[in-house]
Symmetry: C4
Subunit: 122 residues, 4 copies
């Protein structure tokens, strides 16, 4: 299949809740779901934006040809770039067209909440 | 009415939770809502993408003229192509323009969570 | 302000849950939020599509100049055109550009679920 | 990074629930998440639309270069322009391109509900 999508995507809403309830599989998290439909691997650079300091990154992830990657933001770095319980935003720049969807599971309270939207394609 | 929409749609986020609470009508599921506003039947080929293996399908569904089909992914196949409790993504290719919206009900915990977004039109 | 948006909008996902919990203000419902930013009144014709029968409508609603209308689908008709507990889809056609967002509150179980997406603009 | 996005954005759905449960950090609120990826500050004028009266505003917020602002609507004014428990809609006009996402947390009942969508770009 050919490459579907765009090379630049933006997600203004980012927030990793600082608590969870329920089992580990239900831990609060925020995910960028990246779909690469084409025959070339995608190399995606993720830059994080904050309310009060300079952007961080870019962090690079790879999405092989004809694969999907559901990347949790809180597993993107281990240097604290994605602060738990604070606002951020993200931009993804790929070397081949991909499609990006943004999903958040919030399990701070016993009843989980879930949101999702196709990201903004530029 | 004329055909509204596009022929190619992508949904990067796919996840059928592996558990439910409550009555059968509230079972966890993921749905592609397809709307065919025009006077010709739509034949839609659905291909599934995974993190770690080649795509599966295409699986074909039909949406008659002037009808809507709310297709549950876990009823698309009975050969295990849609793994419960695992990540996937999907691409829908139609022979006439349609509109696609993606919805998930997650009822693993007593309190249900619900997400929805118009899919990415290519 | 000038008219922002498009004249034709589609919402493939439609489902009015057939039950609620909690007070009347939290009753399950599905809403088309229509924004008319311009100086001319908008006359919007809403057609409903079903899985297994011909479309119903159009039903006409008016959105005055510089106003927003949050139209509940279950208040659109009183002839049973919007079946409770069943699938449908909708198309909105306006005589001036408007913007449409689709929201559902599902309060069948004690814990509410909420979804929203900008509709598909044609 | 260059400026990504559009100058005009619309959010037809607006509703600040008139009640909350849980701790202050989980209070019901509605947010416009604005991302400014470029090197110039963004000055964003927010106009509010209602079902039954003339629009209010514009209210101006600033998003510095390379920053994100998650603006709660109920903190936009202190003159009652955003009525709690009532419908409204909003239009954001920026002097440089930005990206806007709309999120609502509804914690009127013990189980929270969450919605989000990329706003309509004009």
């Amino acid at each position: 299949m050919e490459h579907i999508g765009h090379r630049v995507w933006a997600i203004p809403e980012g927030f990793v809740p600082d608590g969870s309830t329920g089992p580990e599989s239900m831990a609060s998290h925020e995910t960028a779901c990246i779909l690469n439909t084409g025959d070339e691997d995608a190399h995606v650079k993720i830059t994080l934006f904050f309310p009060d300091r300079e952007p961080a990154g870019p962090y690079e992830v790879a999405v092989p040809a004809r694969r999907t990657l559901h990347q949790r933001f809180n597993e993107l770095t281990d240097d604290g770039s994605v602060p738990v319980g604070a606002d951020y935003a993200s931009v993804l720049v790929s070397d081949v067209p991909v499609v990006v969807q943004h999903t958040r599971l919030d399990s701070r309270q016993a009843a989980n909440a879930l949101l999702s939207t196709i990201a903004y394609a530029s």
